[in-house]
């Protein structure tokens, strides 16, 4: 294969199977699309997308693609496809697969791409906790979707970050603070109204920053926070919301202080790249803070996300927001971040560094029992014990 | 005397969507100010013809002239606008509305969005009722009113619309003699006011009494029109059926046997908790027809329901063949030898959306005869049974698997009678067995009841048709407000005396 010969002809194809959330889930499906479309463009590949109507479609969709024997790699998005990928990968040993969030350690033709959401969430927790402490508040919130174990990692990381923030604040200022985490599983990823009501209740109960881990439901969280700002005649927080999965800040600038990014796009892109370059290897690829697989969004991240939107959409969105140019948006985002003192951002960075070096470990509970223990823990050190 | 036709229908043909040719070119002339009788067997096409005149159905071909002018009605409102009103065979009342709202529906006055002017409508209605000399309660949901009252509401509905021509499709089928008399008085009064009336009935004596002329239809064709003064019931019956009909029932004298049904001090409550039956006692013997006469709504329905297990009595005893059966379920009662021809054929006796076969074994489904294994139904045997019934009772039906609603009313009733008799009962409870049934079928059913009696069965007959009770019964009880005013032999009392008892005077008091 000699690259760069026929520009007009695609050099192959890749396929992606979304889970039931599909495009527009504001979560890993959207991010996977981002990575896959970028890879398709960069490597001049045809991209075939399959949506799944229900969980029953996974095997069918994967099998349909595999039987066509024309894809460099088939990307399966979401942990729910784990068993389906295992089965189809056995049936088609020559077909390469990559699965996002699914744990398949022992197949040569399957690359499992996992993320340490707990680490990223710890930064979100630290950010939230410090903002609250700094403003003399004692509560932060987290609104989650359906209660499923994957979300425990987010909750645990967030709790860890908040506890760490308490400690950090005390050391920095000498003042004791105690910050409660108001948490709530809304039972759905699909109902923005429900997210709004949940956030409203948390705000009423004193939450100063709310982290949303709830897909479409989370959109309501942004709206609730923005309403509270409006009622106080403010354009920017606090109170703030924290976005999840992608750099969501652009959705409601001023309301969202930052987002916990889970770079599914990077994972997907890497898998395709490996497949194209012939370096594809089966097994586990785990992406954490160290690998930039998760993290707190920077303004540049947000702008990159924004730039990935179609031109028209960008223009319209800028107009809707009342900006004349992208620069104005960028400035506005920076201004939003400036509402939070720099030392807080540095502190978050500090925590990031410690997690990367491994001096601090964030718990990642996998089941109910595990999360209960994290919830019961009094200090971040106690939680760290659980991580071991 | 030169008479002007107010309505002329010419060459009316009606083919229903399912291909039934209901009318095959009917001509009908109605003169202003007359009462025209329309006669014909069940399914002859009377209702169809009238629905066409009222704009509810569109003729397949044919012309209609009103006061000499050709009209084409799109809907009943066009007919009403031309002064034609119709009271339907099956009442078309909104059951949950009260009389007032049923009557003013579609003519509420003012705009659609203004408040309904109840007072003005009430005023107009009060005056109408005064003129006609009858009363209906205007503010009670009509479902709580007796049928006689419901019918008055239907008539008021049309008069409220100032119609000149009033079509009445079998108005007397559900009325008691007293109510019929009142109705006739009203109709005569309307005629005197210059209104024209088309009157459909299966009861020849009524037609004889009321009408000026009679048009007879058979199988979608006009057989002829006669002046009532020149007609006899026999003549009309022959025109309708095409053969001679025995209008008097032959009933040989018979000595009754053992008591089959015994009722002892029975008390039954009505739907609204009132004492509908207040301490009735009587017996029906083998080989006897015991009739119950009375104005409808005097507890007959509740009594029958209590006897047939559809309603739990308050107190008292019911014995069948000497065995207490009070409070038993209908199924147990059938098994004990009771059969029931219910008064409400379309709502109780049949399930209109089921087939003839399914209806023919309704209530018989547990019989061994229809089961190959316990709990299952062998439809082939059920069909056999149905074919037998159809043959034996001369039921006209398109087939055993046809929906029963495609049978005419008379044939539906025959099917019920056939089914109930096929239970081989010792007691038959027959409630309004010939209501709305044409002369030929009426003749058949009445003769059959007499036949059963002659075979030694006990028959309990409830009918609003006083003639029927008088003709068929060996003994009869006259019921008033849930009590018998007297139990008499029909031949021993006069019609006047019966009428007095129906009005609430005890037999002993009359005899004094």
């Amino acid at each position: 294969i000699s690259p760069g010969k026929e520009e007009t002809q695609t050099k192959g194809a890749i396929a992606i199977v979304y889970d039931v959330g599909g495009r527009g889930d504001l979560s890993f499906n959207d991010m996977a699309y981002l990575g896959a479309s970028k890879a398709a463009k960069d490597f001049n590949l045809e991209l075939v997308e399959l949506q799944s109507n229900s969980e029953d479609d996974y095997v069918k969709n994967l099998e349909t693609l595999a039987s066509q024997k024309k894809y460099l790699v088939i990307i399966a998005v979401g942990f729910m496809m784990t068993d389906a990928v295992k089965q189809v990968a056995d049936e088609y040993p020559d077909q390469k697969f990559a699965i996002i969030d699914g744990y398949i350690p022992d197949k040569d033709n399957v690359m499992s791409i996992l993320f340490k959401e707990n680490e990223g969430s710890a930064l979100a927790g630290a950010l939230a906790g410090l903002i609250a402490a700094n403003d003399g508040k004692d509560k932060v919130g987290i609104v989650l979707g359906m209660e499923i174990p994957v979300l425990y990692k987010f909750e645990a990381g967030y709790r860890f970050g908040v506890k760490w923030a308490e400690d950090y604040y005390k050391q920095k200022t000498g003042n004791d603070v105690s910050i409660d985490v108001i948490y709530q599983y809304t039972g759905t990823f699909n109902d923005a109204a429900k997210g709004k009501a949940a956030a409203r209740a948390q705000l009423a109960q004193g939450a100063w920053v709310i982290y949303q881990v709830a897909g479409g439901t989370g959109l309501g969280v942004f709206d609730a926070v923005s309403e509270v700002l409006d009622s106080q005649g403010k354009k920017m927080g606090p109170p703030f919301a924290i976005g999840v999965d992608s750099a969501q800040d652009w959705i409601k600038p001023g309301v969202i202080i930052a987002s916990m990014m889970k770079r599914v796009d990077v994972g997907v892109y890497t898998a395709v790249k490996d497949a194209v370059e012939g370096t594809f290897k089966g097994g586990i690829v785990e992406l954490g803070l160290k690998e930039d697989g998760v993290g707190i969004s920077s303004v540049d991240d947000v702008m990159a996300m924004f730039n990935s939107l179609p031109e028209d959409t960008q223009k319209q969105k800028l107009k809707d927001l009342g900006f004349n140019s992208k620069d104005e948006l960028k400035q506005y985002l920076e201004q939003t971040r400036a509402q939070v003192p720099a030392w807080i951002w540095e502190a978050v960075n500090d925590l990031k560094g410690k997690i990367i070096t491994g001096t601090i470990k964030v718990p990642a509970p996998m089941d109910k029992e595990g999360i209960e223990k994290v919830r019961a823990a009094k200090t971040w050190q106690e939680m760290m014990e659980l991580a071991k | 005397m030169e008479r002007t036709p107010i309505i002329e229908m010419k060459g009316i043909v009606k083919v229903y969507p399912d291909g039934t040719k209901a009318l095959k070119g009917v001509d009908l002339t109605v003169y202003k100010g007359e009462i025209l009788g329309l006669l014909g067997e069940n399914g002859a096409g009377k209702t169809t013809l009238m629905k066409i005149l009222f704009g509810m159905l569109h003729p397949t071909s044919g012309k209609i002239f009103i006061r000499g002018e050709e009209v084409r009605f799109k809907s009943p409102s066009d007919a009403i606008a031309h002064g034609i009103g119709m009271v339907h065979q099956h009442f078309t009342l909104v059951e949950v509305f009260d009389a007032l709202h049923n009557i003013i529906l579609g003519m509420e006055g003012h705009g659609l969005f203004s408040k309904i002017d109840v007072d003005r409508a009430t005023e107009k209605l009060q005056k109408l009722m005064e003129d006609l000399n009858f009363k209906v309660p205007l503010d009670v949901p009509v479902e709580d009113l007796p049928v006689g009252v419901q019918q008055r509401i239907e008539i008021l509905k049309m008069l409220f619309r100032d119609v000149d021509v009033l079509i009445l499709d079998e108005p007397t089928a559900v009325l008691t003699p007293l109510e019929v008399e009142e109705l006739f008085a009203v109709l005569k009064k309307l005629k005197a006011e210059g209104k024209t009336i088309i009157f459909i009935s299966h009861k020849l004596n009524e037609v004889m009494e009321l009408t000026d002329r009679v048009t007879v239809i058979r199988k979608g064709e006009v057989i002829g029109t006669v002046n009532t003064s020149e007609a006899t019931p026999q003549l009309l019956a022959r025109m309708m059926v095409g053969r001679d009909v025995v209008l008097r029932i032959q009933k040989p004298p018979k000595e009754p046997g053992e008591p089959i049904l015994e009722i002892r001090d029975l008390w039954v409550k009505g739907d609204r908790g009132e004492e509908a039956v207040g301490g009735l006692s009587f017996e029906v013997r083998a080989g006897e027809i015991f009739g119950i006469a009375g104005v409808e709504g005097n507890g007959q329905t509740e009594l029958i329901e209590a006897i047939t297990g559809l309603r739990r009595p308050e107190k008292g005893q019911i014995l069948l063949n000497g065995v207490e059966i009070t409070g038993r379920s209908p199924r147990e009662l059938y098994e004990a030898g009771m059969a029931h021809i219910p008064e409400d054929r379309t709502h109780m006796g049949l399930i209109l959306n089921m087939t003839v076969t399914e209806n023919a074994i309704l209530g018989l489904q547990w019989m061994k005869e229809f089961q190959r294994w316990k709990g299952t139904i062998d439809w082939n045997r059920a069909r056999e049974h149905t074919r037998r019934l159809i043959e034996e009772f001369e039921i006209v039906a398109p087939g055993v698997d046809a929906p029963v609603k495609s049978l005419s009313g008379g044939n539906q009733q025959k099917l019920i009678v056939a089914r109930e008799v096929s239970k081989k009962p010792v007691l038959i409870v027959a409630s309004q067995p010939t209501r709305g049934v044409d002369v030929a079928s009426t003749e058949y059913i009445r003769n059959y009841l007499v036949k059963l009696r002659n075979e030694g069965k006990a028959v309990l007959l409830v009918s609003a048709d006083l003639d029927e009770v008088v003709q068929l019964s060996d003994r009869m009880g006259i019921i008033y407000e849930g009590e018998f005013m007297g139990i008499v032999k029909p031949e021993e009392v006069t019609t006047e005396e019966i009428g007095m008892m129906m009005g609430g005077i005890r037999y002993e008091e009359i005899r004094k």
Binding site: G22, R23, G24, D25, L26, D30, E147, Y183, Q184, Y185, T186, G187, N190, D191, A192, A193, K194, K196, R200, A201, A204, G216, L219, E227, V228, D230, S231, I251, K252, L309, P310, T313, K317, D320, L321, G322 | F54, M56, L57, S75, P76, S77, I80, M86, H88, T92, L93, V94, E95, V96, F97, N102, L105, G106, G109, L112, F113, S114, K115, I116
Partner: protein, 297 residues
Amino acid sequence: MNVGDVLTILFTSLMAMVPIVLTSVGAAWSERAGVVSIGYEGVLLMSAFFGAIFAELAHNAIVGLVGGIVVGVLLGMLHGALTVYLKGDHVIPGIGINLLALGVVPFGILAYWGTAGQHQLPDDAQMWHIRTPYGELSPMVFVTIAIAIVTWWVLFKTPLGLRVRSVGENPEAADALGINVEKYRFWSTVYGHALAGLGGAFMSVDWLGLVHKTMSGGRGFIALANMVFSGWNPLVSLIGGWLFGFFDALATWLAPKHIIPGQFILMLPYIMTIIIVAGIIGKARPPKWDGRPYKRE
């Protein structure tokens, strides 16, 4: 719980009741005329989507609400044509409309705005709200209350309502009095769907200020239950819809207390509904010809 909490729950429930009440009131009217529809879920979703487009094009939320009504009217006409004029089954089209919405809206969001799954409405396309520290109140709350009351009044006090109820109870009787059964049924269906359309647009241009591909969240079905709960009475629908919103808001408020597992808290509004119906309301009688096509011949 202090006054602020009570107000938060109150405001949340008042806003939450709007789409449910509007849909219930519309459905009650439609079923009073004898036409059943289970497609309100789809109507809510599609009118939320198209209503937002209207609002943005006009830079005016009220136009968006009207746009929602228009979408409701069109879908109501479709349903009316199928059930009233073509005498089709009343339930099937609703299933089809719900499916349609699940295709049209996600596809439409991406096609029209270029963002997948969601879109935020600009300020000038959003409804003005009464703002308090405890929550916001839309004028639509009052409009909804007014609509429920007026609909009730028209249904039970005016000639129009009398006719509508008559075609749902006994179309034969109405027909015999020259009332055009099909016309009344058709337009009643349209009205029912139009109110649902208004409710859907409310969700996007007013309540939440956003469009999301599954934002109807089962409210169409809850509204149907509420309609039955109300005994097909718009006024009771108003109370029922608010009660449901109240228990939902209360549950949401209680959830972070974690007294019992979250899933059990989430059941609260549904359990309360059953208890109220079983304990207090009991038997509800639908209009007699509800869901049955009327054919003259």
